[in-house]
Symmetry: C2
Subunit: 283 residues, 2 copies
């Protein structure tokens, strides 16, 4: 692995090359980013060794594509047009259906591997990159059979370097289920933040009353709108479905309050306490 | 401070006496709890020195009342009936209006101080008690002027021992604002957990896809229904108001998705990102 090209130098891609460079100091990391500040920060902090433009993918052994999912869908075919015969291109976006469809018929489809590492923090940009972000986390690989066998092996060795567990899934299932366990959480958190900010606009010191419970529940409302707007756009129909079910459950809870049916409210919470066992092992 | 009586040996009260005993080893901590397992666990772990029943409050210098808020409202007048002349009774419940009203006319009202330490974890019971839970956290004191001046001083010295910042508020404002910054978070979290569990009931390994973002957003869904049902009951009208605003915001977000108005969706998220600055300093 002589040259790794990272397109989009942020939390996810940045954390990946940080681990890879530590394990493979001989590898040259070349960063591509449309934001010159990100390039400069990444060079200054030695997150990348060199900067480049899209044409550097011609020299890449591995390309990691880590940009907003609408930009990925446009750029992936261009990258596949340019690469060497044995190059591996990995994208790490949070939606998988549109991007897999975009390159379905591409003559170099076999050079591409669709991945979604389930890891992150609420921070973004090259300065958010940290070591060991992916250790013990799940990485979902979609349509693995469409990637050349040797390049599957190469990708798996990279993911093993990062310490990830692998799961295989088709892009449709991925997008459907991830809407529940990730996209909906982001909306619930953003709207909780919005509701409280709107209400308490004129009483700023009310937030002194907020504890770690509130902080935990609105943590995702710090996430980047640049990343999340295209995710919601691409996964619109699944996301709407999850939102409808969530709103239905909230309305039902409100109804129980109005009816003074506190036994039912107790049971709702008791049943949902099962989340304790379900989430055992997730940070 | 010779005798501290703790009524309700759980996360909050247990963590309080754990810190107090460390600072004042000469103080005897007497535990009262209707659950004999809690008593036994607390004696075994030396969280309390002795067990007792309600009548031990007759010997108390300080009583800490830390039980579900419906039980507090019933028990506080009985405690005030029994105590010594210079005893201080503190309750630490998450609602303040009903309990302040319940003892408004009590002849020993001046022995009582209404507090709400904004601290906690999603765990409960005596084994959840930890040191330094309250350090740097906010403690809201309601109707302080109704407590005898000497007992205010005693209470403030205890809260200083625990490392808390004090804020003063009337019970009505407390219940109204805490509905936004705490009670609503719990409902949003419980209903998020419910929505995902219901959907993924038959696909248990889907939870492998859940990351730390989901875990953070549903953390409060692990909370105790015994504690939370009476909180929602006592603060019903405020909670319903917050829920209505939250549901309205979620419906509006869904509408924007349906209309493909992704510019507005971007702006919703961008505006809510302010939560970063607002929450600076909260764990």
């Amino acid at each position: 692995m002589k040259n790794v090209v990272l397109i989009g130098i942020g939390l996810i891609g940045g954390s990946m090359v940080k681990d890879l460079k530590k394990l493979h100091p001989e590898t040259t990391i070349i960063g591509v980013d449309k934001n010159p500040d990100h390039i400069n920060q990444a060079l200054a902090s030695q997150l990348i060794d060199e900067k480049g433009d899209i044409n550097v993918v011609k020299q890449a052994d591995v390309v990691i594509l880590s940009i907003p999912v609408d930009a990925s869908v446009k750029m992936l075919p261009e990258i596949l047009d340019l690469i060497q015969d044995d190059a591996l291109v990995i994208d790490v976006g949070s939606t998988k259906q549109d991007i897999c469809k975009a390159v379905e018929q591409h003559p170099n489809r076999r050079n591409y591997l669709a991945a979604h590492p389930i890891a992150g923090t609420e921070f973004s940009g090259p300065q958010a990159a940290i070591n060991d972000l992916f250790r013990g986390k799940t990485n979902i690989i979609c349509d693995v059979e469409k990637t050349a066998f040797k390049l599957q092996e190469k990708a798996l060795s990279i993911f093993a370097d990062l310490g990830m567990r692998i799961r295989y899934m088709n892009p449709e299932s991925h997008d459907k289920h991830i809407a529940y366990v990730s996209h909906l959480s982001h909306i619930s958190s953003f709207m909780l933040g919005k509701t409280v900010i709107e209400k308490e606009r004129n009483e700023r010191d009310i937030f002194d009353m907020a504890g770690s419970g509130f902080a935990s529940t609105v943590r995702l409302a710090k996430s980047s709108p640049d990343m999340w707007t295209p995710i919601f756009k691409q996964n619109k129909s699944n996301v709407i479905e999850t939102l409808e079910e969530y709103i239905t459950n909230l309305n039902q809870f409100k109804k129980l309050l109005e009816l003074d049916d506190f036994e039912a409210i107790f049971n709702e919470m008791k049943n949902t306490n099962r989340i304790k066992d379900i989430l055992k092992g997730i940070a």
